[in-house]
């Protein structure tokens, strides 16, 4: 699993649900924040006509964090313990930190499978189910217009 795919699922998941699912895995190594969590902005770009040149639409709030594991294994490896990064829209430092922590843990071979199967996969399913439900609501408002023949 690429970290881009995991980052996507975790950023799209509400923080409460992510925290709850993460707690179930029982992975809780010590760690420290090496950057942030920091609240800032991303400039959102659009395209003229949807496909043309980019233009700046406006900014959105964005929070980022980077963490490093400091448990026994991390401490033994000293500063070489891999960093985990998290980015999420909005201003929730805990959400960004949690994504970064999961990212750092997913770089440990023995936790990889648990994170994929016990966290990312079920969260992805939950997202898909919500999106499916929303698409059904949209589909219920789909119309067929009939053009009436005008009398002469």
């Amino acid at each position: 699993m690429t970290s881009a795919r995991r980052q996507r699922i975790l950023a799209l998941t509400p923080r409460e649900r992510l925290a709850e699912q993460w707690a179930r895995l029982g992975i809780s190594p010590d760690y420290r924040c090496v950057r942030g969590p920091e609240v800032g902005m991303a400039m959102v770009r659009g395209r003229m006509g949807g496909t043309g040149n980019a233009f700046n639409l406006g900014e959105m709030t964005l929070t980022r964090a980077s963490v490093q594991l400091t448990d026994d294994e991390g401490a033994a490896a000293d500063a070489k313990s891999p960093l985990g990064h998290g980015w999420v829209k909005g201003r929730d430092p805990r959400h960004a930190e949690l994504i970064a922590l999961v990212d750092a843990c997913a770089k440990r071979r023995d936790w990889q499978a648990a994170i994929e199967e016990g966290l990312v996969a079920p969260l992805e399913q939950a997202l898909d189910a919500e999106r499916h439900e929303q698409a059904r609501r949209a589909a219920a408002t789909r119309v067929d217009f009939f053009t009436m023949v005008r009398g002469e």
Binding site: T2, A4, Q7, R8, A11, L12, E38, V39, G40, M41, A42, M43, V44, R45, G46, R47, M48, G49, G50, T51, G52, N53, A54, F55, N56, L57, G58, E59, M60, T61, L62, R64, H85, W87, V88, K89, G90, R91, R131, H132, E133, Q134, A135, R136, R137, A138, A139, A140, T141, R142, V143, D144, F145, T147
Partner: protein, 384 residues
Amino acid sequence: MYVAVKGGEQAIANAHRWLADRRRGPRETQELAVSQVEGQLRLAVSRVMAEASLYDPELAALAIKQASGDMVEAVFLLRAYRTTLPRLAETLPLDTAAMRIERRISATYKDIPGGQVLGPTYDYTHRLLDFLQLANAEVAPPTAAEETLADCPQVLELLDAEGLIEREEDDGAEPYDITRDPPDFPVDRATRLQMLARGDEGYLLALGYSTQRGYGRNHPFAGEIRLGTLEVEIAVEEGDAPLCIGEIEISECQMINQFGGSRETAPQFTRGYGLAFGHNERKTMAMALVDRALRAEELGETATGPAQQAEFVLAHADSVEAAGFVSHLKLPHYVDFQSELELLRRLRREHAKRTEAAGSDVGTQADDVTPRASHSDLVKEQQA
């Protein structure tokens, strides 16, 4: 010119205390929660985010609450807040074709792949006040169809495939950013779109309307309007895959307008584009009309309407700037006004002397500037 004055601290403090009380309203009603504004005044939140140029529904809702519902004040609050945050990233340009559709309609084709999807719209409502809402009657949950929505490709791509409409292609140009460097007229289309995207909706609506009424050549069709949510990606490091940071609500309007063409290129439909944060359908329609009107020069049209004057349109579109400059009239202009009073008294003395010299009794008392004198009276005196 206005001058700095001292004093009034206590009065200002008391005025703000009264304002806070007014905002809170009668204590026997419950205080409005920001989450209620965010969840139940969604279109107000969308408008504030779009015009403040900052996507953050919770903060927009807070701004609306704090401003007692004054939208221009709320936009100002949120715009001011954005200056306190560092910019961490730029997003990849939004791929609106990938939008998760809530609403998608076309006024140019009846049958479109994916269909006409009304979504949660005020269209077709009867605009009758719903008195049940006075009693907070509960509403039914939305209906869900058996099947989900099919893919909804961009409608203009259909015309594009035939070459009937001008293509919008990316030449990789880096867009100008008015938040980094102030716009320097004339400005390119990317700059115009950034300014229109944060422009006041009422202002753009009026200008768009003017083009329809004949002030500027513009014969538009709503090629496609879509509202929905879109995932946002940022490029973090060179070479790495872009990262999704979440999704935002977006509104888009693609207008199709009458023909452009030249000796080299065959006649084609031209385009106007509107894009905005949140659910802002009317805003994007107005924006698309004005975007197209501002392309007059590029498309070789004679600019005849106000909506085609780029500098005029864009320099006055921002409600924060406009409200700021109009509001400054409330600041003390005591010295300025005093000098005008002096001038006016002198003019009136001279006028009185002239009329006296002409042997007429009909004149006004030289120093008699009564508070009742209307502005037009004063102007007449001055012109005399």
